[in-house]
């Protein structure tokens, strides 16, 4: 009985795949989410699922829930990309992504064949994977740059130079003054301030999450629900 049912299902699938509709029209791609004036297409969502599955070693899951989660990740990426455009920061080189990819291959797969098979099974090209790793690296670097205290913002470099110049001048002037009577050595630099909590990794994550929340509130984000059904 079960075998007959299985045969019926297979027959139906075969019929569907061989139906003339395929020869007629296929959906190639469509807008899945809009983030401000930027759009994320449905195939990008699917690619995100594929690449993430390869990187995590998970099976492919195209369920509506998984697609929605992938779209949410892409929305975050889009918000970060928009912010990245606004400021200049040290962008990663292609070679760094290649190095990461090599490390990934070495850690996850026993042979090149196994690696290639995994890519084929997930429908992911190596360039796609490399681009994804490059993006991860860029996002990491940008986040670090943006939220870690002590990293100079644009325009700060000269400000520091000028401040140093002023301080030097003050020190020269101070050296000309007679030594103070309180026993302290002149020109003693103050102790370094305690490390800023913002610089700690968990602090950066928290700031990043807060910033993403705010950016989502500021930006008009629209999910085309028909894509996630």
């Amino acid at each position: 009985m079960l075998a007959r049912i299985g045969l019926c299902v297979l027959a139906a699938c075969a019929l569907a795949s061989a139906s003339p509709a395929q020869q007629e029209t296929d959906l190639l791609d469509r807008i899945a989410v809009t983030v401000g004036k930027n759009a994320i297409t449905e195939t990008e969502v699917l690619d995100e699922i594929r690449v993430t599955a390869v990187l995590n070693g998970d099976p492919l899951d195209f369920s509506p829930k998984a697609r929605r989660e992938a779209a949410e990740r892409l929305v975050d990426q889009q918000l970060i990309r928009s912010d990245m455009k606004a400021v200049s920061y040290p962008e990663p080189e292609n070679s760094e992504a290649e190095r990461m990819l090599a490390e990934f291959r070495q850690q996850r797969f026993r042979s090149d064949g196994e690696y290639r098979e995994a890519l084929r099974q997930h429908g992911v090209g190596e360039e796609q994977l490399k681009a994804h790793l490059l993006w991860q690296l860029a996002a990491l670097r940008f986040t670090d740059y943006r939220f870690r205290a002590g990293v100079p913002q644009p325009g700060e470099v000269l400000r520091r130079h000028l401040e140093r110049e002023s301080k030097d001048r003050a020190e020269v002037e101070a050296a000309r003054q007679p030594a103070s009577g309180d026993g302290r050595a002149s020109g003693t630099r103050r102790d370094q301030p305690p490390p800023d909590e913002r610089a700690l990794p968990h602090g950066i994550d928290r700031q990043m999450a807060d910033w993403l929340d705010q950016a989502r509130q500021r930006t008009r984000i629209r999910f085309h629900e028909e894509v996630f059904q």
Binding site: C13, L15, E24, D29, R30, I31, T43, S166
Partner: protein, 973 residues
């Protein structure tokens, strides 16, 4: 069998669904794009897309194409389908047009709380932005929430969308059926033992004489505030009152507010060492506003109290506080104030300044030495010292002195005087950083010559971030005016080759230029396009300038016929180059009605019929006025105005038709006026005037206006009110017909016409009455005025005003012999705006028999005022000197200060006085007391009109009182 059927069916459905939901464009990767179609036809967009017929199909190109189309903002949805065909793949791109928000209105019987405008605003649909499917439901819910907050619990709101396909705009009208407004009911207090609910309900004042009042948002808020005030009066400053919910009873249509009240402890704030009025404590200790007591607020309170006492001269005051909680329900705060000696800030010295003079520095400082009348102890507090140091530092830093140091030192007992204090502000300027090299890149579409001469950070100029910010604002605003709304500015600097020099480089990223596609104006119900056209001057294809859009918006407001003008760009974020400029206007009300009552007090009294008090007696004149205007006639901004005024000195009715912007010329106005006036403002007679006039005014520049007027009037004098020698009546009091052509030049460069502090104001009025203009009398008239205002020592103003007038009767060939100018046309003067040594219109020649003023043919007045601060920020004082008079004829104009005899009035009368000015939003309220040093003496007549005619009565020497007072609104000149 059924199992197999269902299995087959489910399998088929699953396969179809999976295939339909998961696009797989990679199956076509590398094939040739045999065909590229758009559904509907949007083939003009194809040129911008990377996907091209005949080229290999690439998934990345397809994605990019969809993104480009979406980014244009023209489509709400974009998808692509494909099919394999011979020779490759045929791609079809399907688009859904995007609609944009056009006019948004609310319709329905809403008058107030909320108004229709408030309901439309609550929708938060913004002109020009894309209209998404869920926007309407969200907007409707927002309007419903607003209505509910105002008691309309059964309201219905229905959005009606009308689409304008030509411009892609969707007009949204919310049809609002508010239903009956619910009434408030006795609130339920949800928490807190021992709370008297009756007292709470009474405090809200939600119940009036006629029962429970209707619910409005403001009434609910005010009720809660009143409960808070009630607790505050019981010293429960930390009381928390909140509305937890509103329970609506649809059967009774009433709402029961659920209140949560936490009274909190009684907070008593006391001071020792100095008395502080409770009002001041409330003002300075922020726990009253914040409704909580914590250390930070008390510290701030201590600082505020310190500043308060320092402002009063207790510069060494010390304020400390301590808190106690003697009982759970009691919280005491005690401020201990040690005032120290009272001092006076007598001197501020600025030292070390080389680049800026003392004046430039002092004008940025709050600290101020003591004055004789105002700030008797000077202005000093530690907060002001800090502010002044920061202000001076900012001044230097913005001019390149990056290392400037500003310190302040106080010197007690200055120059050995106990209680006197001086402040020494010492500036260590340090080196000035200069720009040694300047570069600007990225200027491609705009001629650098337009930008470079205005920049502040070019070679040789001081370097500061402030200057860079100014340059950035100027560059971006120039670009935005030229249609580059996305222009971006970046800059960098490097140390120069020598110390204290920097190299500055600006980089401009222009972005894409946006052009005007067309202008769409909505909301013109009766307004004619020809009225709008000269104001909103955009031509398709010209650069889209935000500045020009704003100027046009201001121009529309200046027409004075629109309540609201909104402007926006359609699809502002879309990548399309050509944009629609949108204007949404709300025409104002077409009728304006105003009424008012007032009164005048002054030397305006005295009987109309007897001859007592020719120099005026103190009188009171109540008045009422009523105005009605029909605005925006014919849709051209014209108006018809009726104005009337009735008092016991004057009856006046005026009908005026005004056509501003005649023939669409900016500043050219035409008006036609009909006037009836029956006035008794001159003590000598009552005159009736019927007048019609036509006037053309043209604004020549921002400060200069020219007026041309043709007037025709008939003037009669009521003989029963005449108080002059009967022999003069045929000469001066005959009915007269005057036709006059006049022109008036006004030059106004005052900073504030209602209360001028600097500037100049001049007028020249030239008129000619002749039989050419159907006039019964021929004369020329000149009246000129010039006033100047000179500020000095920050708050002082020296103001002066001179006024000269001349009337010259003449006779043209063929005309009757020269006739006297009738009484109502002669110059009368004296009073609050011309010469305060006289009551109103009491200057000049007088009737030798009765002593009443006759007016004259020449007038000359000169006023000088010293305006100075007196008390606080709103009370000023004025010392003034007025001189001048009305003279009988030009040859009799004299600067002589003594009256020759009782028949001589052609001399210069001088008056001095003191005045008070209290500043209000409508202008200063004015009280002037004047003393005339040489008021005129004259022979007056005591008796009735009968006595005058029959030679009876009594003649006696009289004089205009030396003391005069005036009370009015507005400066004298």
């Amino acid at each position: 069998m059924p199992h197999c059927f269902w299995a087959f069916f489910c399998g088929l459905a699953l396969a179809l669904v999976l295939r339909a939901e998961l696009p797989d464009p990679r199956q076509h990767e590398g094939k040739t794009v045999a065909e590229l179609r758009f559904e509907p036809d949007e083939s003009q967009a194809a040129g911008e897309l990377p996907l091209k017929p005949g080229a290999p199909f690439r998934v990345e190109d397809l994605r990019a194409a969809l993104k480009i189309l979406h980014a244009s903002g023209r489509y709400s949805d974009v998808r692509a389908t494909g099919r394999s065909v011979e020779g490759g793949v045929a791609v079809t791109i399907h688009t859904e047009p995007q609609w944009f928000i056009g006019r948004v209105d609310a319709e329905g019987p809403l008058k107030q709380e909320p108004t229709r405008g408030q309901a439309a605003d609550a929708s938060r649909l913004e002109l020009g932005l894309p209209l998404y499917p869920d926007d309407l439901s969200q907007a409707t819910n927002r309007i419903l929430a607003l209505l509910q907050r105002n008691g309309y619990y059964e309201a219905r709101v229905e959005p009606v969308v009308t689409r304008d396909p030509a411009h892609g705009l969707a007009t949204v009208k919310f049809a609002v059926a508010p239903g009956e407004r619910a009434r408030l009911y006795r609130p339920v207090v949800a928490s807190g033992p021992g709370i008297d609910e009756d007292a709470v309900a009474r405090a809200t004042k939600w119940k009036g004489w006629l029962g429970w009042r209707q619910l409005t948002e403001s009434r609910l808020h005010n009720g809660v505030q009143r409960i808070r005030n009630k607790y505050e009066k019981q010293d429960r400053l930390m009381a928390r009152i909140s509305v937890e919910g509103m329970d609506y009873d649809p059967a009774r249509r009433r709402v029961v507010p659920r209140l949560a009240i936490v009274p909190g402890p009684k907070v008593e704030i006391r001071t020792e060492g100095a008395d502080v009025p409770k009002k001041k404590l409330k003002q300075y200790v922020p726990i009253f506003i914040e409704q909580t007591v914590d250390r930070d607020l008390l510290v701030e309170g201590a600082r505020n109290l310190r500043d308060y006492f320092q402002a009063q001269g207790y510069f060494d005051v010390e304020v400390e506080f301590e808190q106690h909680q003697p009982a759970p329900d009691q919280h005491d705060v005690l401020y201990s104030i040690n005032l120290g000696p009272r001092q006076k800030l007598v001197h501020i010295e600025v030292q070390g300044n080389r680049y800026f003079d003392v004046g430039a520095i002092r004008e940025r400082m709050f600290l101020q030495p003591a004055g004789r009348l105002r700030l008797r102890h000077g202005r000093y507090s530690e907060r002001f010292v800090g502010r002044d140091e920061d202000a001076v530092k900012a001044l230097y830093q913005s001019n390149g002195f990056r290392d400037v140091k500003v310190t302040t030192r106080t010197v007690p007992n200055y120059r050995g005087e106990a209680g006197d204090m001086a402040v020494m502000l010492t500036i260590d300027e340090g080196p000035q950083y200069l720009v040694s090299d300047f570069k600007i890149g990225g200027l491609e579409s705009i001629n650098p010559e337009e930008i470079l001469p205005v920049l502040a950070s070019i070679e040789g100029q001081p370097f500061s971030e402030t200057n860079v910010a100014l340059d950035r604002d100027f560059i971006l605003s120039t670009y935005q005016s030229a249609g580059f709304p996305d222009a971006a500015f970046d800059w960098e600097m490097r140390p120069g080759s020598v110390p204290n020099e920097v190299e500055v480089a600006y980089k401009v990223t222009e972005g894409r230029q946006r052009l005007v596609r067309d202008v769409v104006i909505t909301g013109m119900e009766i307004t004619r396009p020809r009225l709008i056209r000269p104001v909103v001057r955009f031509t398709p294809g010209e650069p889209l300038s935000l500045r020009k859009m704003t100027e046009a918006q201001r121009g529309l407001y200046e027409l004075g016929i629109f309540d609201k003008v909104d402007t926006a760009i359609r699809n502002p974020d879309g990548e399309s180059d050509r944009k629609y400029v949108l204007y949404q206007i709300d025409e104002g009300h077409r009728y304006h009605i105003a009424g008012g009552i007032g009164a005048e007090v002054g030397r305006i009294g005295g009987s109309r019929t007897d001859f007592d008090a020719p120099a005026g007696a103190t009188g009171f004149s109540p008045r009422a006025n009523f105005d009605i205007s029909r605005l925006h006639l014919w849709g051209l901004g014209h108006s018809l105005n009726f104005k009337s005024r009735v008092s016991n000195l004057q009856r006046r009715a005026l009908l005026n038709y005004s056509a501003p912007r005649y023939r669409n010329v900016e500043g050219r106005n035409i008006s036609v006026t009909a006037l009836f006036d029956d006035s008794h403002d001159v003590r000598t007679f009552s005159a009736r005037r019927w007048e019609s006039s036509a006037q053309l005014s043209q604004k020549l520049s921002k400060a200069t206006t020219m007026l041309y007027r043709l007037s025709f009037r008939r003037v009669t004098v009521d003989r029963n009110t005449l108080k002059i020698d009967p022999l003069l009546i045929p000469q001066l009091a005959q009915p007269a017909r005057i036709g006059m052509l006049s022109s008036n030049l006004v030059h106004d460069r005052r900073d504030d016409p209602a209360d001028s502090h600097k500037g100049i104001y001049s007028t020249v009025d030239l008129g000619l009455a002749s039989n050419w203009f159907a006039s019964g009398r021929s004369f020329a008239r000149f009246l000129g005025r010039n006033a100047t205002y000179h500020p000095f020592r920050r708050h002082f103003v020296l103001a002066r005003n001179v006024q000269f007038g001349w009337l010259g009767p003449f006779r043209l060939k063929g005309e009757d012999p020269v006739q006297a100018i009738p009484l109502p046309e002669r110059f009368f003067g004296g009073g609050s705006t011309s010469h305060r040594g006289f009551p109103d219109n009491q200057a000049g020649p007088r009737d030798l028999l009765t002593g009443f003023p006759l007016g004259g043919n020449v007038l000359l007045f000169h006023n000088t005022e010293l305006r100075f601060p007196l008390l606080g920020d709103n009370m000023d004082g004025v010392l003034f000197h007025d001189m001048g008079n009305v003279f009988s004829r030009p040859g009799r104009l004299s600067f002589r200060v003594r009256q020759k005899d009782l028949t001589d009035f052609d001399y210069m009368v001088h008056a001095v006085g003191f005045g008070l000015r209290y500043r209000t939003p409508v202008g200063p309220i004015r009280i002037d007391l004047a003393y005339s040093m040489n008021p005129p003496r004259f022979i007056g007549f005591k008796g009735s009109r009968q006595d005058l005619l029959l030679g009876g009565g009594e003649r006696a020497e009289q004089r205009v009182s030396g003391f005069q007072f005036f009370f009015s609104i507005g400066q004298a000149f």
